[in-house]
Symmetry: C2
Subunit: 395 residues, 2 copies
């Protein structure tokens, strides 16, 4: 219902579109930008000059096109100079990185994290990492913001973690605490790890160019980052994508959320480890150990993989009926489960999902590996810059 934009709004949109293009695609010739953005050469020249003056892109190093005529100048994001802080609070570790414009991880710090510690206990170490990263950044480089990925339900408005059932958290004001510890008035953008990984894989990974994507992330719990019509499904308060708490097994095992038979009780880390007769073991290493044992012929491990693979396919079929996606990506420990049980997953999908809903769906593993939470958290932080490049506060 909103009316069309003003001239100045259009200029800002165009600046954002150009910067986003080189941020996502890397070095691009002016000729390619002219084609892709549908703007004329003089407009592209003026926009590039504005962005270069703001220190966001550089120009030069004309690329050989192999064609006759003057080679076109190349526009590059200032990846070394312009960066975001990307933080990740995972079940078993903490990470912090400097991620350059263009999505390059420039520098990382990692620490183990004892299970069961609170969000508040992660703030100090992460702030320490950010200080280290700041000191080792090249002189003259600038930070455009900070983002953090976390396994929990995040209130969109203020980054409050409402519930981290696998972490034992309730109502922890993570966004506010990190912003204070980092001394950043711009705030720290907080995203659920599945949402953030979906954003990363959609921008520069396994789901590039796909408008309808379900990215599943498993560790102790299971969540999804869902993209519909090219945009993330956040829900009314920011809590959408809690597919791990879709009940698939009425009267089944109790879940940490208080309900029973949730999907994550059948496909989470505990389910696999327990079915393989290894109760007590935890973490990704334990999941990989079950997958390895199944590979080597361990009957109990093979049965566990089959059982979890069946339930994985079962829930994916439900989601395929609901969303009719183009791509389903299996991330976190579900990557390993999927690779070991792909035939079971596909067979369940075929027997349960409606043919029209599943006919074009591609099942994929992530392309960005363990960097996805960091790259995605950085995307959250870059978002404001890309929406309005000359207005964003950079410090």
């Amino acid at each position: 219902m909103r009316a069309g934009p003003s001239q100045e709004e259009i200029r800002r949109q165009n600046l954002g579109a150009l910067l986003r293009h080189v941020h996502v695609n890397g070095a691009t010739t002016r000729a390619e930008l002219t084609n892709t953005l549908g703007l004329n050469r003089s407009t592209i020249g003026a926009l590039t000059a504005d962005l270069a003056a703001a220190g966001l892109v550089s120009e030069g190093g004309a690329r050989e096109t192999g064609r006759a005529g003057r080679p076109s100048l190349v526009v590059r994001p200032e990846s070394q100079r312009v960066y975001a802080y990307a933080l990740s609070i995972e079940v078993d570790r903490l990470r912090a990185a400097r991620v350059g414009l263009g999505g390059r991880v420039l520098d990382v710090r990692t620490a183990d994290r004892p299970r069961g510690t609170l969000a508040a206990e992660a703030v100090g170490p992460l702030a320490g990492f950010v200080k280290e990263l700041h000191h080792s950044a090249p002189p003259g480089s600038v930070c455009v913001g900070s983002g953090v990925a976390v396994s929990g339900m995040v209130r969109r408005d203020d980054g409050m973690v409402r519930l981290g059932p696998t972490m034992g958290w309730v109502d922890e004001p993570l966004g506010a605490a990190l912003a204070e510890a980092l001394g950043d008035d711009r705030g720290v953008l907080v995203g659920n790890v599945s949402d953030v990984c979906a954003l990363a894989e959609h921008t520069r990974g396994a789901a590039v160019g796909c408008d309808h994507v379900i990215y599943l992330y498993g560790d102790v719990g299971v969540g999804a980052g869902i993209i519909v019509g090219g945009r993330r499904v956040t829900g009314h308060g920011g809590y959408g994508g809690e597919v791990g708490h879709m009940v698939v097994h009425p009267g089944g095992r109790p879940c940490l959320c208080g309900s029973r038979g949730c999907w994550e009780t059948e496909i989470g880390e505990h389910a696999l480890i327990q079915a393989a007769g290894r109760s007590g073991a935890v973490g990704r290493e334990a999941v990989l150990a079950v997958v390895d044992a199944a590979d080597r012929g361990d009957g109990l491990a093979q049965a566990a993989i089959r059982q979890v693979g069946d339930w994985l396919g079962f829930g994916v079929a439900n989601l395929v009926n609901i969303f009719n996606p183009e791509t389903v990506v299996f991330g976190g420990t579900l990557r390993d489960v999927y690779l070991a049980a792909a035939a079971h997953v596909r067979s369940r999908l075929n027997s349960i999902a409606l043919p029209a809903c599943r006919e074009h769906v591609r099942l994929r593993t992530p392309k960005l590996g363990d960097d996805a939470p960091l790259i995605g958290a950085a995307e959250l932080a870059f978002e404001q810059l890309l929406a309005d490049p000359l207005d964003a506060t950079i410090a």
Copy 2:
């Protein structure tokens, strides 16, 4: 990534925004349009003049504002002159209507429809209705297009009905057959009945102003029209929203789709009628009879309402965890089941859905009643006109 629009594109956007505003909100003063669209008075005047010249709006009848100064002119959609044909193929009946710009149902035709007849068999009667509606339309009135609502999985690109499990249809080219029978080169837009009702209730019914909506529609089967971030979830091929085939009861009753334990086997028309000991009865009347009997103290009917209400709440809880919606609307026969079993639905929702996902959700019945499929089908047909008012072909 697309660059900002040209001057001409902006003019078209503004024309569309103004026309959409009066289409959705009805008669609006120029002063209100100036405020709402954020454009200056002279621009509003010029846009209104263009739309009036095209016969899409009329101006006049200055409304008393009660304030000093010149009263502002009122802009109205040309509801009597500009209309769409809206068709609806329901389990038990066929309907066709002329719906005026502004969403007014001007004239309707209805016929009973024997269950089990094919889509092809609906085309002739519907085309006959359209001929009648055309002849009784006032001289000088113009049709901007046609839309049809149908209980089936609709391929977005061409209106092919891939599967209408409750109708026994497979791959019926409904869009093409109707366009040919109506002799309309512009084609006929085909939408799933749940999607189309969701569109209608979102535009002018129970979900106005809500960005995250699940509209459930029940008859023999169950489907959902889902709105995320203000936009309909269509999925990759157009088949999204098949929530009736979310399996909620592994190993449960066989479903018409070939799977078992689908949600619609627990909450569809058959489930209620059978649980009430009335096997053999069919249709909305039979559902209402069970609701009435429960009201009058029939124990078996009350147990049936409880059972179906429990399963209804169960599935809604799953969807609330997945989508974190603002509003859930119960349409079709689910309206009556919900009203009879609201306490059971709410109790299941509270015990299964995560508090953060459900805390702001409103459970609602539709506002548009039985007109929703017609109003929604007309919205499909108006869409092109609203996107580019002066470019649409009107005949």
